[in-house]
Every structure is written in structure tokens, then in C-alpha cells.
Assembly symmetry: C2
């Protein structure tokens, strides 16, 4: 594979090789300089110099002696220095605000989730509270002498890639909120990179980091249904950042009105509201939106496990519709994996069989084009993890972007 | 933007910079060495050395004196040497075989199309004739002392990326034909690269080369309906090369049986057969498959221009269904452009209005996410052009892959 696209000089070449060594140690674990040289094809002197710079920058550190070598002089291992750099991901969703700070090794440095009725509170007050939450995470990073690689803000709606403006979030009732600009002002015009991104896209990146499948589709189920696509190892964003709006594919029979005002959206037959409508009566406590969603889902699981016919029928129906819409995605994208996130993951044991049956019946390629269906175990924290990781990915791509420590 | 992914040494660096200079002259036209240096940021001595190597390799040549400089010593222009290298694209489709050879500047060196009833003839005889056609193109390249960068074979079906096996081509009635292996044998185990690719994917690459939009979706309309996706400047292939099967999205009402044996496929309401069923009687000559498809389409155009109500109603119906399925693609992929190819391009003037109306009504992002609908003017030669270009792209990506002339 050739490097391509931009005229490269020796500075670019060194930056590339710093990135190669840092990713190598991240992906494959602690190892000696000699082994890094063998495995990457770089010569030993170059590796020593690259490692020295990465240590200076607080990204690698000396580890223990290499006990894996039976013969010859034992090499010193180098390993990721988790303490030096952190990325922060924060999320606004329908009924909560959340934040996580991850260090370079992926460990959680700080984590918090606050129940908030966002649609009621409106943008101004919500963003005030959201900024306070982000400040807490930033303070936690600074308290341990860490450098902040950046902050990514996740929102459940259409984000214009270049400006970070939230154009439309049907389930929050927000339109045209300048989230990036408003948050920069509230955070005191910070010098660290700050980006806004669709929450399903970030959850998809988190699933990608977990599964390492270069072609995957994630479906996140809540009241709204979001999707994200990784193709050839790249998150698919589209021309303006509006990709992945799978919840509004017009595949359902008319009947229920969607949060977007249309009928026929996929969301109206596979969203959480659709499941609850089919499985429960109007006054059933699992419909109560003031209760925590995980608690409500536990109620559904309990009934399914007890063999409740109405619950099982509703799950089968949702699973079949998941397969019908899923077949569209698989025919277009041919992913290796279809990942179920959000409530789809929790109820996966009952959704998967009808889903896979419908999928295999409707995908042109034999055996569903080889697509496996798996459940994400990142739960409702997937988007904030993806947001923090995207910041850390920038450090792996260009280890010279942060100052030397 | 950082180069990334593989450990790079000075050989890689030079290869990258050869590619940068060659693409630069291709994209922006003849220019002096001094100007290339200014525009790419490479230093003048490096550019001179890179240009000298590209001239030696028969990819660039000295042009006329630079008349654009009013002051100072006039520089010599360097330009693409179109004569040195060619790529070949060849296509098997339902009712024809076709081939084109393009030189590095995109000029047609050889072109031929032969009407063949492929489904009747079967794989063995078809591939014999196909190999003869490819040999003619290869001979034409060699006759002008050109180097052959490679041959790409386009087929209307599911191609397994790694092996070049055609798994399934519903409209040919072929299953599991080892096209790459069979053709290599018939061509005498050639040393040039030979690849097999889905025809809609290749037509998509041709549209991409023409439009230079980094996020586009192509729809090709014939009896079957194919699709291709370019996202972030990369053709989306999927995990096994089975992407783009848009014709089999389950969005249509049941009723007509699709070529794949299912009902509900998009193809059954937007394919050429669906249009003809709605617009014409059973014995209408425009339904006659033994006539050339362009001639039959001219008959439809004539009726539409004359205001024939049945024809106009059928076109409006197909246009609306194009918009309904198109909305799915736009919601998932957010392309900048939706390109109409094949028969959709010919009848575009009547399809576009209902298409755009349905699209805008069903895409979540405002104004269809900024997606424009355009007609391809590459006609039924798009796939072979894309096939030839893919070979030439390899030369642009790595100008050292061919021997020095």
C-alpha cells in the first residue's frame, strides 16, 4: 500500500513513522525496540530515535525487562504511557447528559451521567448544565497532570460537519442550535479541539474500536433509531455529515406518525415506542418515561423469560421488521457485522432469530452476504466512549500535535 | 493531512512524491517544473528529479515553452504522455459484450461493442467471445507500442472481491462462474493485472472521475437496477464486494416477481420491465428485446414528447418510486449527488420532477440533505470506461509499477 495524496517531506515521513510505532505498541502491547524494528520493517536506529521522541512526548514509557527472550541480552520493553494524554466524550440525549474521560490506554479516568429531561429544559439551560459536566471531566484530567487531546460532543440529530451546528434533533425538539459555538463560549473559548458529532456515529466508532471489523453497521435502538456505517475502516459521514439516518427509511406501512412528522419511517415499527405499544397496555408501568430506561427494559426481559405470549409476539414482530430494514442496509453496504446497540442489544436474545430469518430471506447475496449479527456490550455509554476515542485517534494519527511534556 | 498506516522509508517517500507530481499534472494540466514546485510545496531540485524519472517511465513528456511568464527565463512545460500506457475495460451484459482501451490522458485508443444474447449462449461460449474481444483491445494497445497497465472485466452481478468469482448474476442466469480464472486461461495466463468487478461499481467510478464529487450514488437502470456508492472519495465495496445491490431493497408492494425470485424488490417498480409494463401493451414493438435498447427508448421519448398520457403516467409513477427508494439511499449515505445512469438518464427529463418531489418529502435532512440529482452522459459505456480508469489509477497511485521505457 502506498502512502498517497499529499507531497511528503522528511517531517511528514517522521510524523508517519512516529504514528506507526505508537499504534503498533497500542495494538500489539508492550515490546522491545528490537521487536518493533523487526515487525514494522523500520531499522533499529530509527526505532530507537522514534521511541525516544514518543517517551519525551509522554506517550510511551519504559516498561519491564523483556523476559520472552531466552538467549542474548534482554531488551527493555516499551509500553503505552496511559497517564499522559486523555480524550473526553460528552453526550446530550433525550433523558440524560453524560461524560467520560479516557486515557491513551482506554482506561476510564472520569465518568458521570445525569438524568435530565432535555426536551423540557430547552437548549440554553441544557447547554449550561452540559458545559458544567464537561468542565468536571476536564478538571479531572488536569488534576492528574494529563494533557487533553480534545473534547467531542455527541448529539442525537443531524450535525453539519463543518460548523458543528445541530440542524435538527426530532426527539429533543431542537432545530438549528449552534452547539459548537455555544459550548465554546460556555467553556471559555478553550484551546483544545472541540467537535460536535452525531451520537450514532460515535457509538459506531466505539463498536469499531471494540470489534475491529472494517465493514460494519451499527443500529442503536431507543425511542429514535440511529445508525452508523464503517466501510473499509472509515466512518461514513456523507457530503454534509447527515449520513446514517436509518430510522427514517420509508419501509413501514403507514399508520403511526414518526417523531419527524412523517409516516412510514422504519422507527415507527422498530423504535422502543413501537415495541411498548405492541407489548403493553397504556397504563403499564414499563411505559413510564420518568423511570430509567434500563429498569423498564428489565421488566420486558422478565416477561419474555416467563414466556408471556404478548411480549414474545411483539418481540418477534420487531425482530422481523429489524430484518426487513436490515436487509436494505446489508444489500447496499455488505457489512461483515450488523451490531445491535441500545435497547436492541438488551432484547437481542428474542430479536435475533426473526431478524436473521428476515435478513437471509431478503439479501441478494447468499447467506446474507456473510453478515453476522452481534450485540454490543457497550450499552448506553457507547457514544461518549466513541467521542473520547476520536480525540485519542488524533494523537495516534499525529503524535506531534501535543507539546512535549 | 498525515500520510498513515504503514512504516515508510525513503523508497516509499519517493514513490509517493512521483504519484503527487503525476496526478498534479493530470488534474491541472501542462505546467513548468517551477510551478509544480510552487504548487506542491516540493523543492525545485526534487521536482526536477521526479519529472526526469516520470519522463523516463513514459508517463510525462516535455511540452512547449511556457508562454504564461512575462518575465524571466521561460520554463519548459511538462505534460502527460498519453501514448505510453493504456488501461482496458471490458463488459459482459445481458445483451452485449463491450471493450474500451483508454490512454493515460483518457483518450479512446480502441472501442468495440458486440450484440450477444448472453443468457442463451451460456458461460463457456460467452467467455470465449469475450476473450477474443479483450485480445483485440490488447493487440491495439501493443500495436502503438503502449504498455498495458491492466484489464478490468465488468459483470452484472455479485463478484467475490478476492477471487474474482461471479457468485450470482440473476439477469444472465449465471451462478458461481470463475470469471477471473476462466478468462486468464483463455487469455494465455497474461502477466498484466486482470480483475473482475461489478459493472455498477465501475460505472460509479466513471461517474466519479467525471464529476469529482467525493460523495455520490449512481443508479443504473436497465432490466436490472444496480447502484454504486462513492463515500469520502472511496468506492464502497463492503466486506466481500457485494455492496450496491439497491435493486433488491424490499420497498415495493408485493405483486411482480423479481429476476431474483423474490417479490417486493425495488427493481420490480423502477426497472425497465416495470416501465414497459405500465406504459405499453404486450405486443408493443418497444417491448421487443431483440431490438437495440437505445432504439426502444427513443420510441418512449417520442411518445412522451408527443404528450401521450399513458406514457407520461408511467414515467411519473417510476419517477416517484425512484424517489422513494432514492430517499433510503440519501438518508443512509447523504451523497452530494445522485447520478442517474442507463435508461434513467435517457428518460431523466420526465423522471426527475416526481423523483425530486418524493425525495425531498422523505429525506430527514432539510432540502434532501443538499443532494442534487444529475444525469450521467456516459450512456451504456460507463462501466467499460470505469474499468479502464481503475487500471490507470493504479499507475497514478504508484508510477513505479511499470517498467522504464
Amino acid at each position: 500500500m502506498a502512502i498517497r495524496g499529499v507531497a511528503a517531506d522528511h517531517v511528514t515521513l517522521r510524523r508517519n513513522n512516529l504514528s506507526v510505532v505508537l499504534r503498533h505498541v497500542h495494538d500489539l502491547g508492550p515490546r522491545s525496540r528490537a521487536r518493533i524494528a523487526e515487525e514494522t520493517g523500520l531499522n533499529k536506529a530509527t526505532v530507537s530515535s522514534l521511541v525516544a521522541e514518543l517517551v519525551d512526548r509522554g506517550l510511551l514509557r519504559e516498561g519491564s525487562a523483556d523476559s520472552s527472550r531466552a538467549l542474548g541480552r534482554p531488551g527493555q520493553l516499551v509500553e503505552l504511557d496511559g497517564t499522559g494524554v486523555c480524550g473526553v466524550g460528552a453526550e446530550i440525549n433525550v433523558d440524560y447528559l453524560a461524560v467520560v474521560a479516557l486515557d491513551l490506554t482506554g482506561n476510564v479516568v472520569f465518568e458521570k451521567r445525569v438524568p435530565v429531561d432535555v426536551a423540557h429544559l430547552g437548549p440554553d439551560t441544557t447547554l449550561d448544565r452540559f458545559a458544567e459536566l464537561v468542565q468536571e471531566a476536564v478538571a479531572a484530567v488536569h488534576a492528574r497532570q494529563g494533557q487533553l487531546a480534545g473534547v467531542t460532543l455527541a448529539v442525537p440529530g443531524l450535525v453539519e460537519g463543518e460548523t458543528g451546528e445541530l440542524k435538527l434533533a426530532p426527539n429533543l425538539g431542537w432545530t438549528e442550535v449552534s452547539v459548537a459555538k455555544e459550548m465554546r463560549a460556555r467553556l471559555g473559548e478553550p484551546t483544545y479541539p472541540l467537535h460536535v458529532e452525531n451520537e450514532a456515529n460515535l457509538a459506531t466508532l466505539a463498536a469499531y474500536a471494540e470489534l475491529r471489523e472494517h465493514d460494519l453497521v451499527l443500529l442503536t435502538g431507543a425511542v429514535g433509531v440511529g445508525g452508523g456505517v464503517v466501510s473499509g475502516g472509515q466512518l461514513l459521514r456523507g457530503a454534509h455529515g447527515y449520513s446514517g439516518e436509518v430510522g427514517h427509511m420509508p419501509v413501514a406501512p403507514p399508520g403511526q406518525t414518526c417523531g419527524c412528522g412523517r409516516t412510514g419511517c422504519w422507527e415507527t415499527v422498530v423504535g422502543l415506542t413501537a415495541l411498548l405499544r405492541k407489548a403493553t397496555d397504556r397504563d403499564d408501568p414499563v411505559r413510564d418515561p420518568s423511570l430509567d430506561v434500563e429498569q423498564r427494559l428489565a421488566g420486558i426481559v422478565q416477561r419474555a423469560e416467563a414466556g408471556d405470549v404478548r411480549t414474545l409476539d411483539a418481540l418477534k414482530d420487531v425482530g422481523t421488521w429489524l430484518g426487513i430494514g436490515g436487509a436494505i442496509l446489508v444489500n447496499i453496504l455488505n457489512p461483515a457485522v450488523l451490531v445491535l446497540g441500545g435497547y436492541f442489544a438488551v432484547l437481542g436474545p428474542w430479536l435475533e432469530e426473526p431478524l436473521e430469518k428476515a435478513l437471509r430471506g431478503r439479501v441478494l447475496a447468499p447467506e446474507g452476504g456473510g453478515c453476522r449479527v452481534v450485540r454490543s456490550d457497550l450499552g448506553f455509554g457507547a457514544a461518549v466512549r466513541g467521542g473520547a476515542q476520536i480525540c485519542l485517534d488524533q494523537v495516534f494519527a499525529d503524535p506531534t500535535q501535543l507539546g512535549e511534556s
